[in-house]
Symmetry: C2
Subunit: 229 residues, 2 copies
DNA sequence: AATGTCGTGTGACAATTATCATCAGCTAAT
DNA sequence: ATTAGCTGATGATAATTGTCACACGACATT
């Protein structure tokens, strides 16, 4: 699972976000960082687990979810490479408020949280960078949830399809990494209605469906539905 | 509007959150901080405004809202004293993504953002404290929205009433600081249905209503509705 | 005093969404 | 090979929520 050679110098995390970290700090983190591989479906973190590590996604795709009071799953958000997976509560809680599950084969990079905090305490510029990143990510989650909230069923389903097409795969045909049930858990509707809506989109020749394969045929139409439908 | 005497030493902001700030840093912030008073209904910050200051609420109650694509208002959250009002995007965007409006007479304390950032860069412990606070606040917003999302109309209205009773006023009779329309904008339902639901609660002797005065009579029942209704 | 606007309140009806039942296909387990 | 369980799919029906219409009072403006 863990790598033996140190590749932090080439790590995107460093070059993309943490421009203001010293060589020593990088080395200190590097010598104890651990990479983990997960297969699609594997649970990476479980709700209630103590927060010991600072995780980011190096490769793959994950979902953040939680269990509601009446034992239903609710998907909070999806995270892509270089998103911080342990971001929602990492600096404000002792334990995770949500579960992280791989929805594609994924690789995480785990750093010891105390060590990251130690660097943060010593290096304010690093911490400010980090805060900017965390802030962007939580902003995104809040805005996405507000967007979804104001839409009806059809608009919500269209929004999810466009999310995967535009933000995740950057192409109009892709394999849906989640089930209809999971779409429902994300947009707050029932599985049956998600399935029905996809069928209608197909009947109206807006998309083509082959199992989990989605092909967006009439993107303008789908965008219009996402906005006004 | 602005105060002439420096009272930062007694400021809750310092004692509560910024335990790790030096006397010099406090003084430096203090000499240029500005307090503003707002009356109920006043707009404190407007969506799209450039972010120049770091604001926190010293007294009162505010709502955070945004305008959706089809020009409807959507309330994101409410903020209480010592919440950071300019928190959602202050470190991740050039301009506000939302409007802040006083829903009770309020006082803000404004610090120059660049100066706060300067301190943050110099003082990692301070920044880590700050990040913890920002993180807690955004976590709260996300969790509240998820809670509301899984409930039906009745549960949502009950949830809002309990929010004001428990979290804001800490008593079971209070004057609702917002209109029925604003409740609707927060929970994502129509004004008519909010009014109807309040009427039903009244008919069922769960609450008493005198205009904006709310008196929760049967709190257990209301809590049960919030959870399962 | 007349007018307009806004918040509140209620009813009738339409639209949206959930629930329940059923079925087919696939896969894992025995 | 058979069963059990899960996802996907569709229809009928019920529940929930939205829309439209109207009414009333408070309040500000003219």
């Amino acid at each position: 699972m863990s790598t033996f050679e140190c590749t932090c110098e080439r790590c995107h995390l460093k070059t993309l976000f943490f421009r203001h970290i010293t060589k020593n700090e990088i080395r200190s983190i590097c010598t104890q960082k651990v990479e983990h591989n997960y297969e699609k479906g594997d649970v990476i973190l479980r709700e209630g687990d103590p927060i010991k590590n600072f995780l980011y996604l190096k490769e793959g795709l994950v979902k953040l979810s939680r269990t509601t009071g009446d034992d239903k799953e609710q998907i909070i958000s999806f995270a892509k490479p270089f998103d911080f997976v342990s971001l929602l509560s990492v600096f404000s809680s002792e334990s995770y408020h949500y579960t992280v599950t791989a929805i594609e084969d994924s690789t995480t990079c785990e750093l010891d949280l105390e060590q990251v905090k130690e660097i943060a305490r010593e290096n304010g510029v690093f911490t400010l960078d980090l805060m900017t990143r965390v802030s962007e990510a939580t902003d995104r989650i809040i805005l996405d949830n507000l967007e979804i909230k104001q839409k009806h069923l059809h608009g919500r389903v269209a929004y999810v399809l466009l999310f995967f097409a535009n933000k995740v795969y950057e192409r109009d045909d892709f394999e849906l990494p989640i089930s209809r049930k999971e779409i429902a858990e994300y947009i707050g509707m029932t599985t049956e209605n998600v399935i029905r809506t996809l069928s209608e989109f197909k009947k109206d020749k807006i998309i083509r469906i082959f199992g989990k394969e989605i092909d967006i045929v009439d993107k303008e139409r789908l965008e219009s539905i996402s906005l006004h439908g």
